[in-house]
Structures are given as C-alpha cells and as structure tokens.
C-alpha cells in the first residue's frame, strides 16, 4: 500500500488523516451554510440559491420515498448525504485524502443511521409494539426464530452500509493509485524519459493513452460513483426510517422484506 499510495499533502501531527479531512469537509459545508444563510432573501441569489436547489433535491427524494411524513428527517438525511458526497469528492482531489476512504468514518455514519432509525421507531410506537414487530406475522411457534433472524438482519444493516461505502471508495482509490503508479515516474512516463529509443516510443504512447484513459474514463466514473454512493446511502437511510415509522400499519398484513 505504501508503495503505490502517497500520504496526503497536508497533515496535522498526531491526528489521523481521515479526521483532519473530516474537519476539512465540516469547514467546507459549514462555511457554505454560513455564507448561504447570512442574508436570507425571499428571492434567493448566489450561494443561497445553490443550497436551496440542493436541499430541494433532497426534499423531492424524501417525498418520493417516504411521503410527506418523512420531512422531519430532512436534517439527518441531508447532512449525511452532503457529508458523504463532499467526502467522496474530496478523495478525487490529488493530494487530498477523502474521509470516506477510511472504515472508521463510514462506520460512524452507519452507526448514526442505525441508532437513529431505531430511536425513531421506539419513539413512534413505544418499546413493546416496536419490539413485537420484529416477530413478524408468523404463527406463534415460529416467532422466537423470526425474532432472532430479524435481529441479525437489523444488525447486518450498519455492517453493509459501512462496507458498501468504504469498499466502493477504496476500490476506486486503489485503482486510481495503481494507474498513477504505472503511469508515473517509475512507470511509463519514467520509461519515456529514460533516454532509450524504445522507451521513448512505447512509454510516450502508453503514457499518453493512460492519461487519456484516466482523465476521460476513470475520473468521470469515480465522480459518478461518488454521487451514486451518497445517493444510495441516503436512500437506504430513508427506507430504514420509513420501515421503522410505518411498522405498526403493517401489523398482521403483508410482511415487508428486510432491506439489507
């Protein structure tokens, strides 16, 4: 890993890189929010306009998935989504280190989701009703089995949220690092500059092809994946919350399959 991947440019002594860059993301988002809400106008302009467009996208998504009763959860969902999106995009900036390429950050996000949707369910239905739902609409003899299975499936949710975001980000990260390593001064470009005639031709053409491939294909792909992963994280959060909120209405009816 150390061979192909370089440390980020800016590091604070004694503080892990992902924490430093989490603070950077917080500064970016907090600064945007501060600038956007300093002079709130009825007809939005500039930063405020941009932020309102972004938040309206989130609201539209919530309305589609959860209906209007999902609106109170906008702060949680939008904060997670924006944090993950900016964190993902930050890892694409050369010399930076995205916070979401570290397992600790993604695990923190997933645990926040896990505890909040259970808290929302508890508050909405009360402990007994909420726990009862874990048993599902099955005959009495099967209820203990169902309860255990449901508990395991609920515990698997934060795990899969964590690993999905982390794996997608780190997979792309390692791919880019390997491509840059192959392309760089120890690879094709180094060969082109080494002075030999064959190296100049093969390394030059190969390096040019790799640069075009990286800029034209890999970077857009990574940007797409960044948006997609943030979207999926928000979407699954909404599904979990709406599952916890709506559970009482499904009593005795058709059982919702668990979303992992």
């Amino acid at each position: 890993m150390d061979v192909i991947e370089h440390a980020p440019i800016f590091r604070l002594p004694g503080i892990p890189d992902h924490v430093t860059y989490t603070w950077l993301v917080m500064i970016i988002l907090g600064g945007l929010a501060f600038v956007g809400s300093r002079n709130v106008a009825l007809v939005p302009r500039g930063v405020q306009n941009f932020l309102e467009v972004v938040l309206e996208q989130f609201l539209q998504m919530i309305d589609e998935v959860m209906g209007h009763e999902g609106r109170p959860y906008l702060p949680l969902i939008a904060t997670l989504g924006l944090f993950i999106l900016v964190g993902n995009l930050l890892s694409l900036v050369p010399g930076m280190n995205g916070p979401t390429t570290n397992l600790n950050t993604t695990a923190a996000c997933a645990l926040v989701v896990f505890f909040s949707y259970h808290w929302i369910g508890f508050r909405k239905h009360g402990a007994v009703t909420y726990l009862k739902h874990f048993m599902g609409p099955v005959p009495l003899a099967l209820k203990p089995l169902m309860f255990v299975i449901e508990i395991i499936s609920h515990l698997a949710r934060p795990l899969s949220l964590t690993l999905r975001l982390f794996g997608n980000m780190v997979g792309g990260h390692i791919l880019l690092a390997i491509i840059f390593f192959l392309m760089g001064l120890q690879g094709l470009i180094g060969w082109a500059l080494s002075g030999s005639a064959v190296g100049a031709v093969v390394g030059g053409i190969g390096g040019a092809v790799m640069i075009v491939f990286t800029v034209g294909f890999l970077y857009p792909l990574k940007i797409l994946v960044s948006f997609l992963q943030a979207f999926i994280f928000c979407m699954l959060t909404m599904l979990y919350i709406s599952g916890a909120v709506e559970e009482a209405e499904h009593h005795g009816g058709e059982h919702q399959p668990a979303h992992h």
Binding site: M1, E64, V65, S160, L163, R164, F166, G167, N168, V170, G171, I174, L228, F231, I232, M235, L236, L239, H259, H260
Partner: protein
Amino acid sequence: MRRPLTLAALVVLGIPGLALAADAPAGGSLIGPYSVLVAGFAMAFAAGLCALGQGRAVASAVDAMARQPGAAARIQTAMIIGLALIESLAIYVLVVAMILLFVQPIK
C-alpha cells in the same frame, strides 16, 4: 489434458509453493503467497458473478422501463437500490481481499 483449466489452476496454485520451497527454510509459511493468489481469484469470481447478477437486474429493469415509460423513475430508483444491494456482496469480497493483501492478519 482433458481438463486444461484444472491443470492450469493446479500449476498456478503450485508455483508459490515451489518457489518458496526452493529458498525458504523449513517451517516457512505459505500463507503469504497463497493469500495474494486467493485475493486475486476471489475478486475475479466475485466480480464476474456480481456482473451476471447485475446484468439480469438491469435487463429486467430496462425491459420494464420500455414497457411502462411512465413508471421509469420509480423503476430506476428500485433498480439502483437493488444494484447497490447486489454489489455490496462483491464489495464484501473486495474488503476481504484487501484485508488479505494489506493487513495480513495471518502470517
């Protein structure tokens, strides 16, 4: 030679053992070289099978969108969620492969 793939796999899997047996002292662990091989093969299998599954999902989703263009947005959302859930299985394998390659908990 009726099963060239099996033979090739045996040869490939045998190489690190031979290479290591040549210069490693007795008691040298084979886990390191094998874990590199296993990580690569595991990722290859996971990516291939994940691609099959996702291909089926996308094919049905596109089929449904062509039949009912009105419901395209909802189908697309469901498709993306489904793809994420399918993909997460391959991602688990990626994480295991990365643990084998970089963390190397078993030596």
